[in-house]
């Protein structure tokens, strides 16, 4: 449904996107994850026909975003990371205005606006001026606005940023609903746990490049090369942390009360060898194991490696 093909985009010396390729299948909720400046917004605004790619092609439902921009616009609903609403316009009028902007016949607009306000849980706000709505409500109204022309694809740039936990939960609920409506949703965030719950698949990007993509479970597995380990000892935890720091394949070793945490990269056999060495050296080991990581830590591990590789070059 969405296809990026070797897309590059420079802003002066800044490489916002570099040979970025990504395929999003129809009906998925797809998360685009990366730290600030990774190029998420750039990728999304190229998809939304607002910027031209420097190189490469982008298609939505088989239509090219440059040559068939009009066709693409009819198929996407785009919510930018930062957006404003108009003064002196009521919520229903706001939606009706955009309905008109998508050539929806005049007779259907008010009915459509009422239905959308219902969908985003603002049914009693039709007559309220949009600039007086709370941030969470504006965000939901903007989401309703994305849906006026019943697009197949939704592009949501950081829709949860700046929202309180309750408003976030509501936003997630609406996105789940969109999935049931068989929309393809591309959603970006730099806050990971959020996406893990609602996304079918995620892509991790950093410095304009795709670092990894797949299901949440796959991503967590990809980053297994570097594992977060935890050892609990009866005493001398500080000493153990210092000892571990001297061993190969171990980084970020630190004591935390009676336990020591570190990042270990190596095979199962090396892990066994490490445990043996610690016991032989006389530490009273009570527990030894891998810390189950969530997506966020997996992400840190993946982008961290990327950064380390860059540094080595």
């Amino acid at each position: 449904m969405i296809e990026f093909n070797g897309v590059s985009k420079n802003f002066g010396a800044t490489r916002a996107l570099e040979q970025f390729s990504l395929t999003v299948r129809q009906g998925l909720v797809y998360g685009l994850i990366g730290p600030n400046g990774a190029g998420k917004t750039t990728a999304m605004s190229i998809l939304a026909t607002l910027q031209l790619p420097g190189a490469g092609t982008v298609t939505v439902d088989g239509r090219d975003v440059v040559r068939e921009a009009g066709e693409v616009r009819g198929r996407i609903g785009y919510m930018p990371d930062f957006f404003g609403v108009y003064d002196d316009l009521r919520a229903a009028e706001y939606l009706e205005f955009f309905a008109a902007a998508y050539h929806i016949p005049a007779g259907q607009r008010s009915h459509l606006a009422a239905g959308l306000l219902e969908l985003v849980d603002l049914p009693d706000k039709a007559g309220v001026y949009v600039d007086s709505l709370s941030r969470g409500m504006k965000q939901r109204l903007a989401l309703a606005r994305c849906l006026v022309h019943d697009p197949k694809v939704l592009i949501l740039d950081e829709p949860a940023s700046g929202l309180d936990p309750r408003a976030r939960a509501e936003m997630k609920e609406i996105i789940r609903h969109l999935k049931q409506m068989d929309k393809t949703v591309l959603i970006s965030s730099h806050i990971l746990p959020e996406l893990a719950e609602i996304c079918d698949e995620v892509a991790i990007m950093d410095k304009g490049k795709l670092v990894a993509c797949g299901t949440v479970a796959e991503i967590t597995a990809v980053s297994r090369g570097a594992r977060q380990m935890r050892i609990e000892v009866l005493d001398r935890a500080e000493e153990l942390a210092a000892y571990l720091a001297t061993r190969p394949g171990i980084s970020d070793s630190h004591a935390d009360g009676p336990s020591v945490q570190f990042i270990f990269s190596g095979e199962q056999a090396e892990q066994a060898g490490l445990l043996q060495a610690i016991i032989t050296a006389g530490w009273p080991v009570a527990e030894f194991g891998e810390v189950k990581r969530n997506l966020e830590e997996a992400f840190m591990a993946v982008t961290g490696e990327e950064a380390a590789n860059d540094g080595g070059n």
Binding site: L50, Q51, G54
Partner: protein
Amino acid sequence: MAEINPVLLKELRQRFRNKKASWLLALYLVVIGAFVLGFTYLNWRNAPGFYQPSRSQEIFILLSVAQLFLLAFVTPGLTAGAISGERERQTLNVLLTTRLTTWQIIWSKLVSSNAFVVLLVAATLPLYSIVFLYGGISPGQVAGVFGFYLVTMFLFGCIGVACSAFFRKTGVSTVTAYGLTFALSAGTALLSVFLIELDRSYRAGASAASSLPLPPDFITGVAQFLQETNPIFVLMEILGTNSILNDFNFGLPYWGVYTVLYLAAGALLLFWSARLLFPRKNN
């Protein structure tokens, strides 16, 4: 039936709903009304009891020129934030992802702002009736003046819209739009007066001027052309004061030159503004 452009409808709704609109209208009428009534009062005090057509002619000229100055003041101000304002409020991107064309967006912005200016001008019609009361003015002259206002506000509005599409900041756009409007209104007048003086000294055979590289006919031609593109000269001419040079025939009457030039320049500015909203390779 063709439907009214959605941006235009939205703009009109926003503009006329805003309290600022009624304040501006009131202020406009107060300024221009005070001007005319004050002048009439002075007239009456100096020569109480009777009125001369030449006096009402004077009031008509004053009123019309005052209105031109107010237009030059109001129109760029209303349009110079049309696009940059949407950018600053972060509403432009969303608008550009709809099925609206950039041309529709630009055109609606201009029409909605100018609709308001037309309202301002129309609201001053009762003041013109005072002038009519005294006689000495033909309805054709009044129609000419209002036609002149429409052409003039079109170009002034286009200048504002183009500045707002070109500059990111409304502040910069507003200053530039006023600057260009001023250059068009005062700059062309000053330049034409300068050229006429130059021509005069040349014809007088002053030795310093006889080294001029340009033929004198060319200079007066340029001066006349400048006058025919200058709103103040053209308005005075419509008001019957014979202020424009009449040495050359450009194939069109002075108001024809003015109208064609202003409408064409405005249309070009609008096309350029619409192009500025297309996505670009860089930036």
